[in-house]
Amino acid sequence: MAGSRGYVNRRLHSLLGVIPLGVFLFQHLTTNFFATRGPEAFNTAAHLIEGLPYRYVLEIFIIFLPLLFHGIYGVYIAFQSNFNVNRQGYFRNWMFVLQRITGILTLIFVAWHIWETRVAIGFGWEELNYQLMEDILTQPFFFWFYIVGILSVTFHFANGLWSFFVSWGITVTPRSQRIMTYVSLVVFLALAYIGVRTVIQFAYGV
């Protein structure tokens, strides 16, 4: 017996990825999607979220602490694996590898994204508005950085949702797991569209 800590940490890692991080991702992408209705709609939506009561408590317990745990423990999990798709080239094995690669990409992207927006705003270097994102995303490097970042985040969430359903014993039979694969694909495509569409709006104004 190696003690239950490893078990509890893995359970927590799996839970936090969906609740609250997945829920927050959905909320965040939806709020940003207001940009497609123009700068004023985006500013109104963003300021509503910015002005939520006990905002720091929400940020710390719904976003930052879960994010830190999921991110750091996730790196530990990713580096415990020996990738073997060259020998076992099955679909799920590829998903297993992609889940870990997109996890690392997500960590890099999210760290930079928080630095450039939330931290910059927190220190008063920047102000939260449409202009901030437009200035970032009209630079070609950051446009592609955000595209890759958003695709990684949404893939990691959608495929993670599939694993979540297995890890919590919801989908047990091969049939239910296969159907969940299609569901997770739809979730990925939907969220990726919402994110990429918003980025295009900021970058090109269309």
Partner: protein
Amino acid sequence: MSEEKNITLIVTRQDDPESEPYKETFSVPYRQNMNVISALMEIRRNPVNADGEATTPIFWEMGCLEEVCGACSMVINGEPRQSCTALVDQLEQPIKLEPMTTFPVVRDLAVDRARMFDSLKKVKAWVPIDGTYDLGPGPRVAETKRQWAYELSKCMTCGVCLEACPNVNSKSDFIGPAALSQVRLFNSHPTGEMHKSERLQSIMDEEGIMGCGNAQNCVEVCPKGIPLTTSLAALYRDTALESFKSFFGSDR
């Protein structure tokens, strides 16, 4: 078949557990319906490599020769499987033989699978019935349950699922799918079920169920077609409920 045909084998060899592995090529006369074991036996009969040099016979393990004991597992052309059922006619030439990398090599193609038996002990893969008097016959098993439980009982601890699993390696303590599936088997038994909670607790640690990463290679490579990923998912459910019961409390 008057014509003399030869098959080529490239074997990854190792003289003892500590020494460096090396490759040696062999050319063996072809016979009809040959399997990898009969080719290895041929080399043992005449231990000369493809360059015509005398060498030591290749060391490997075997038992039943009908894919029920698991002893002759090795990596054949990159695929972990039993060498007794690896027919030469169905293999691409040259045939590459390597020991499974998940286990410590004893010598040449023989590996030490002791960790699998340690895992079976860890998860209490048995039904405790010993006592001081005859307890009589146990409860009957429902036929539907017997049918799927029988599939799980086909496991021969061959190690192929551990070899294919990306999470069973020297960096992780994960015990692998084979022993976990046995937890489901013994928990499904009407008498074994009395110790269900103990078995579940034994896999709720760093080495147990949560070490699985859902790559699902195990179910693809299992020579006995055991629904390993269904077992793992069922255990994910059982351990989640077990956690809930043991933390919040329940009458067990």
